[in-house]
Structures are given as structure tokens and as C-alpha cells.
């Protein structure tokens, strides 16, 4: 199978049973993406596929050939942190750090969704014009659990980096 991950092409021989998460971690040794529940319930395995956040643990790798996969390793490096990574450090957006790669990939996907006007369940109206306030952020990030309870720092970091962008969502008609 042939995959595009963080801009690199990987050709690998794997069983069709392999999940995208196991492909990343066990076969390509990209261990940034974490395995928490392995059943879609925690978000630790969140990666971006063509810019959209998904749970790699429930994804059969075979279905994701030919797509642009980005993992935390593709977001930034220790010498060159992405703004959202630096903000997690600044705001204490983690304690043990296990959920952090998933939180960061999820936040990047979330920001893109908000920017294109996707409403959330708590949006007062569905037009996509709601401002991304505290409740919106918590709802939109609810697919990522943090056992350490670093939620306040996580929300502060995401607000600092993304909220300027997400408070001016596109108009409803333009989103059509």
C-alpha cells in the first residue's frame, strides 16, 4: 500500500486489517499519535486527512491510500514549533502529554471547520455566523478527552492561536 504522510510517500506491505493508527505507530514508527481507547472514544489518535480531523484508530489504513495524512510529526518539530504547539506550552495545555498530539491535530481541524462556517450543536443559529466562544470551543473539542484535566489550558491555547481567525467566519451564503 502507498501512503502520503506529512508530505512523504511511504510504500509498505501491511495486512488489510491494519488500522491507520497501527500503520503510523507500528510500521512507520511515527509514535506521536497515541492509542488511548482504540475505539473512537478519546481522540488521542486524531490525525488530519486532507485537512479533516479523524480518529486513526477506527480507520482501516487501506481506505486512506492516496490521501494527504498529517500527524503531529508534520505539524511542527522541537526546533520549530507550530504556533499552536508553542501556545500549549505557554498555557500549560498538558500535564502528562498523552492526549496532546490528538488535541493539537484536532484543534487544527476544528479551526478549519469553524472558519468555513460549520456550525456546532451549541450554535444558537445554524448559519455559521456564531462567534466561537468558550462553550463553542468546548463543544467542538469534545471528541478529545484529557485524563489529566488540562482542559482550561487547552482551551486558552486554542483561543489564543485560532480565535481571531474563527471569530470572523464566512457568511452562510458563501459557505453554500
Amino acid at each position: 500500500m502507498r501512503f502520503s504522510i506529512n508530505g512523504d510517500i511511504h510504500e509498505v506491505e501491511v495486512d488489510v486489517r491494519t488500522s491507520l493508527l497501527d500503520l503510523l505507530r507500528e510500521h512507520l514508527h511515527l509514535t506521536g499519535s497515541k492509542k488511548g481507547c482504540n475505539q473512537g472514544a478519546c481522540g488521542a489518535c486524531t490525525v488530519l486527512v486532507d485537512g479533516e480531523r479523524i480518529n486513526a484508530c477506527l480507520a482501516l489504513a487501506v481506505q486512506y491510500q492516496g490521501r494527504e495524512i498529517i500527524t503531529i510529526e508534520g505539524v511542527g518539530t522541537p526546533g520549530q514549533l507550530a504556533a499552536i504547539q508553542a501556545a500549549f506550552v505557554k498555557h500549560d495545555g498538558f500535564q502528562c502529554g498523552y492526549c496532546t498530539p490528538g488535541q493539537i491535530c484536532s484543534a487544527i481541524g476544528m479551526a478549519a471547520e469553524a472558519k468555513r462556517g460549520l456550525p456546532s450543536f451549541v450554535s444558537a443559529d445554524l448559519s455559521g455566523l456564531s462567534t466561537i466562544d468558550h462553550d463553542e470551543l468546548r463543544e467542538r473539542m469534545s471528541g478529545n478527552l484529557c485524563r489529566c484535566g488540562a482542559y482550561n489550558g487547552i482551551i486558552d491555547a486554542i483561543r489564543e492561536v485560532f480565535v481571531d481567525e474563527t471569530t470572523t467566519p464566512v457568511k452562510f451564503e458563501e459557505a453554500a
Binding site: V16, I54, N55, L60, Q63, G109, L118, P119, R138, A176
Partner: protein, 328 residues
């Protein structure tokens, strides 16, 4: 997970041709339910036919109906401008389900056929008629707080967990199906089955039949219809009880109403009794309560889920009162 063959197809015809050849095959959407069940070997298909390549288009037809391709992702449906504007209850129901990550993977067809979240169904040390026909049901006398109160049988008390389907039931959606014997259409409210003595049969699909699209008739649905979901935490949890509702009021009376309940039955539950009790009645809290009581009169709660009866009534009254602009 047991070994399987994998094939990706682009058209319903290819999918059906493969499925006819191997009746142990399963269609694969986003995999968010099927992969999980295969990992636990609760499902063990010999081959998977990936149908995420069939139509995912969302098309508004000339008569105002909307056709949603079965491969359309849950996010894409909730995001569609026509659906947000004309069928807000559907957009809200989808957005209340699972997490953003899962909604980005899950397909419309897969959402319809997702399986129950009864814990005993997932636990192969437990007895479950749905998993092993005739084995018994550990939920009936077990922990059954999340289980059904309407339409249950002595063989199964599980619920259908979908939020999206509750809105589809209220909206008179139609399921488009293709199969070895050709195409057919089934109203969503007739698509899922009650458990009776065959809880393993969850929908009326025949072998190798494929869902190709969901049609939303351009009905009287007002842009005010809504969806409310009551659950154990504020987000990312299945419904204990949910309500999809739309209300048309003329001269202070209920001219039309659509009401469906989630979390209470083996299928999305269209509340026909409540609807009948409401039509022509004054749009007041008292009528809403009478209607809710008419619907829940048949409820048969189990040891741990009796709370769902008053909860369902209160939620119905609250949602209808909100839509009517009267305070509950």
C-alpha cells in the same frame, strides 16, 4: 480481528455484484462502527466492500426534495446550506452525535445501519439474542438504564443509537435501496424493525441490498424544527432520550406536528399517537403534556430505566413549548 478481503468500488452495481457472490461480505462505510465490531469479532465478515466511493452528492431537486448520497459524510450533510436552512432539525441531530472526528468519517448509509450500544451485545461473555440467536438476553434482568421502554420484546430491549435517524423519522425521509432484484424505496419509519423474536434482524434490507441515498421530501417542515438530546454528559455521549420536533401553529392551534423520539426503542420512534392527540388542539403546555402522555402510555420500563418515561414526557413538552413560544 479475523482476516478478510477488501475491495473498493465506485458504483452500486459493482458493490451489489460482489455482494451477491459472497453472502458473508459486508459493505464498509467510514468503518466507525463496523471496524470496532470486527475488532471484537462480534462481526466477522469474510470480505469488505468499501462503498465510500459511491455517490456522496447532496442534490436539491426541482420539487424541493433533497437527495443525500449514501456515502455523504455526516459532517457534509450537517454543513450543507440547503439542509441547514430547510431541515435544521436534521443538521442539529447530526451535530449532536458522536464527535467531530467521527462525523468526518461516518457515512449516511452507515449511520442508518449502526448497531445498538447495549453493553451485553458488545460483551461476548454475556448472553445476547441479537448476537447469538436463542442465547437469551442478559439486559432484561441486568443493568438496563440505557435500554428501551417502547416496542420491546421478551427477546431484546436494546435501542437504536442514531441521532440522525430520529430526525429522518420526523421528516418522512425515504431510503433508496438498490439490490440484486432492482431498486426500491422504503420510508425510513418502516426501514428499521422492532425486535420481536428476531432481534438480529434490524432492518428490512434483503441480502446484498445497498442503501444508495436518503431522500428528504420537500415537506411542510418549517425552518424552525429542532432536535434536543438528553444525555449523561453535555457532549459526546449517546442519547438517554432525544426529541426531534416541528410544529405549525395557525390561529393558536396546532395545524401540523411532527414528533420522533430517540433512545427509547429498537428503532427511531415516530410519535404518531402524540401527533394525533395534538392536531387541532390549542398550542398550550397542557395539550403538549396530554400528547406526551398518550405516546408514553404504552411504555414498559425495566428495572433501571423507568426514569426515561417522565424524562421523555418532559422533554417533549419542553421542546414543543419552545417551538410554540410558550413557557414550559
Amino acid at each position: 480481528m479475523l482476516a478478510f478481503d477488501y475491495t473498493r468500488v465506485d458504483t452500486p452495481a459493482e458493490a451489489i455484484a460482489l455482494a451477491v457472490r459472497d453472502l458473508d461480505a459486508r459493505y464498509l462505510g467510514g468503518g466507525t462502527n463496523l471496524v470496532d465490531l470486527m475488532r471484537e469479532t462480534i462481526e466477522a465478515p469474510r470480505s469488505l466492500i468499501d462503498v465510500t466511493g459511491i455517490s456522496d452528492e447532496i442534490v436539491v431537486q426541482q420539487n424541493g426534495a433533497v437527495l443525500i448520497g449514501a456515502a455523504a459524510k455526516n459532517t457534509a450533510v450537517a454543513e450543507n446550506a440547503a439542509i441547514r436552512a430547510q431541515f435544521p432539525m436534521l443538521a442539529r441531530a447530526i451535530l449532536s452525535g458522536a464527535s467531530a472526528q467521527i462525523r468526518n468519517m461516518a457515512t449516511t448509509g452507515g449511520n442508518l445501519l449502526q448497531r445498538t450500544r447495549c453493553y451485553y451485545f458488545y460483551d461476548d461473555a454475556a448472553r445476547c439474542n441479537k448476537r447469538v440467536s436463542g442465547a437469551g438476553c442478559d439486559a432484561i434482568d441486568g443493568f438496563n438504564r440505557i435500554h428501551a421502554i417502547l416496542g420491546t420484546s421478551s427477546s431484546c430491549v436494546a435501542t437504536h443509537p442514531s441521532d440522525m435517524c430520529v430526525a429522518l423519522a420526523a421528516l418522512d425521509a425515504i431510503v433508496h435501496i438498490d439490490g440484486p432484484e432492482g431498486q426500491r424505496m422504503i420510508p425510513l419509519i418502516d426501514f428499521h424493525c422492532l425486535p420481536d423474536d428476531q432481534p438480529q434482524i434490524e432492518a428490512v434490507l434483503r441480502p446484498a441490498e445497498l442503501i444508495t441515498a436518503i431522500e428528504l421530501p420537500a415537506a411542510s417542515a418549517s425552518p424552525r424544527g429542532t432536535y434536543r438530546k438528553v444525555r449523561d454528559r453535555a457532549s459526546y455521549a449517546f442519547a438517554l432520550v432525544s426529541v426531534a420536533a416541528d410544529l405549525t401553529i395557525e390561529g393558536g392551534r396546532v395545524a401540523d406536528v411532527r414528533l420522533a423520539l430517540g433512545g427509547v426503542a429498537h428503532k427511531p420512534w415516530r410519535a404518531f399517537k402524540a401527533e394525533a392527540a395534538l392536531r387541532g388542539q390549542p398550542a398550550t403546555e397542557a395539550s403538549f403534556l396530554t400528547a406526551a402522555e398518550a405516546e408514553l402510555a404504552d411504555a414498559q420500563p425495566l428495572r433501571d430505566n423507568a426514569f426515561k418515561v417522565p424524562l421523555a414526557k418532559r422533554t417533549i413538552v419542553a421542546v414543543l413549548s419552545d417551538l410554540a413560544g410558550v413557557t414550559a
